[in-house]
Subunit: 163 residues, 6 copies
């Protein structure tokens, strides 16, 4: 994959799950992030809801973790991997943005970028679902990979992450 | 839900799947959209790949449709619904953005916003997965609901969609 | 089923999913309960954890709801049903028992007893999982149906529930 | 986990799937048990049905095995594990109790207690499902871990199992 | 669909799940069949195993029923349907063929041909799996639809079935 | 398994998932094939559809790959395996037969015959689904294992494959 070619296609030009049989089993990790943009009162409802009436983020957390474990069921060419750790963190940016960050780990033959991206996507969709009665025009994204480690192709970090 | 309160919590302040037993079964539809931002050469590879070597979007299309059908497995408080139609469309914006739009329909007691949002999310993640050997800093989003119809709460369209 | 025969077998003596095509679609509900028996300090850790460090029951709640929606995947002869409401409640009995109660509703052709029983079972197993580092000899049960309503066979309540 | 603390929570007090990346891959096994309490005539129907009309326990066996393989889909913080062996045994106690025992094995980084407990739970729920036309007040439990082997934390056996 | 065109593609030439929102909800049924061809001693082992050591067909029956319920997860453009009845029958033809027939019913907007075909496929694969230590060159097929009823397009029966 | 006995049953004569804990982890591969028999005009529609209106085989490809990854959910006694490669090829035989061949690889303790057979079965069923509006009497099969490599029991090839 070093030459940057699309390698998900066989000689018939159809999709395949890339053969990683000969790759080494190594410890790998990936961190991804997304942002849910909403009105300040929606974010306030999520925040205060935690104490008083219910915890949107606790549900989103579980959703993200469970989705990550089943990433290979959602992403057709993604290899199934036995994940060894998943953590999801929430933080606010300003008064109208909820940042969701997921760290996923495995010991396996391929990386876990997709698992981390899937975790934050499912968590963000769950936040949307639980708050959509209040606000339907929330926006999710940008969803992006922050960094990854392990594997032969070496580590990766987004430019803004490399400082 | 007319008063905009968060209704996913029971009297113990814990999450529940909202009781919709008494709601009417009506035809419902929702349209959602997301955007995958990438380098022009990545978009060009997707585009040309269709003719020559393989069709990233065909795989993404299937991923989105299959994910939509299983939305209730991803989103914890989402009601399971027997979907009656799913369509996903792709178009380019400029030379560096791929727009993914999903239309989902059902005849049921709740809307299909989450199914449409899940469809575009899974399709976008699949595009990322199949192109990540070329480019790791693609970004997904904003993911958003464009419009919905059907159900007692009435139709909805994003402001920019109402013209 | 009025005569109490086992009706899950065909004329070859093998299991089948009973034909309910001709049954009426009606509103149905079921309530089930289980108990997790543990040491007082384990129950105390769950209780205090909610405020300080984490909420075992929030995770168990989500687990129960998600499992209920997929009951027909776990119980081979169980009909798939589009559930219209799921709620799970927790309460303590004495200082060493956690009671979990689930209410499940549908509008369909068969009852939702299995969905309610599955919900409390998954929630209880999740409590076990999250506390097993503290105590491995917790016990789950008795798991039982408290009552059901709707459907041709009439309502049911456990004797102790009928007062 | 040696100090018996709840370790399923991150520094935000939210649930995570515990990081086991650095744990050794070892052979592990767990045995769990549950009991289904029923009227003697129900147990008799199960027993005789095997010869004449159908085999409730054959279906329950398959249900338990299939559920064990998917434990990580039921139990949110449970690690996915490639199971290497699952066996389920049934025996009667007196004329009104069916005992279900599951043995689960893996070669992995975490134990299989949850898989064994899930197997007996799914098997018991299946027995309930297939006999509920005869008897609705059957009770499931106590569901409990009998013993486990493998892993750094050492072997475990319930006190009554240690003789 | 009366004109026999492929209707699973949208105007972009990509796959979609056909919109059946406006179709009537009617009772529908389908019957499909497959054949597993094996050596006489393999068939004999299956047959005698039922009495003595284990029941291959009981497991295959459960596999077929469970797979039918999840057909829409296997077949990308297949609509999810709440099945109302599933039955699977086995019979022998000569001393070397096992015939598997599945009848599936629903009350819905689309037919259940795929569910019946999926049921017999999963049952046949299970027979193969459980007997492959004895014989690896078993063959499955022809797998085919025998008849279907219900829905606007009218009933269908294979020519050989119409007598 | 060297003596060819059915080993999927425990001492109670009930099914179990065979214990492979002590087997070596080795690279394994399997190739399976099936054939979809159809009218020449149906095959022509699939072929031409690729260029003009839609690509049945692209959808079938994805279906086969996704089904292979989840084989252990379909086949009750099948061990879950982290697949390391899946490829599906299509070719025509005469003017009325579509041949589907799947190659599946893993590094694990059991073979991947079932995964390869499941892949071609799901792909063939998808072809049927997408063309059934044109032709309902298509036939699938024979579905069979062509060859396997790896594992203690040695390599296998169908007689016709051994030349």
């Amino acid at each position: 994959m070093a030459d940057g070619k699309l390698t998900h296609f066989n000689e018939q030009g159809r999709a395949r799950m890339v053969d990683v049989t000969d790759k080494d089993v190594t410890a790998r990790a990936a961190v991804a992030e997304t942002i849910v943009r909403m009105r300040p009162e929606t974010l306030e409802a999520i925040r205060s809801g935690r104490v008083g009436k219910g915890d949107v983020l606790a549900v989103a957390q579980v959703a993200g973790i469970m989705a990550a474990k089943r990433t290979a069921e959602w992403i057709p060419m993604c290899h199934p991997l036995p994940l060894t750790g998943i953590d999801i963190q929430f933080r606010e940016a300003g008064n109208d943005r909820l940042i969701i960050e997921a760290t996923v780990k495995t010991t396996g033959k391929t990386g876990v970028e997709m698992e981390a991206l899937t975790a934050v996507s499912a968590a963000a969709l769950t936040v949307y679902d639980m708050c959509k009665a209040m606000q339907k025009d929330m926006e999710i994204g940008p969803t992006r990979l922050l960094r990854k480690t392990g594997g032969k192709s070496g580590d990766y970090a987004r430019p803004s992450e490399q400082a």
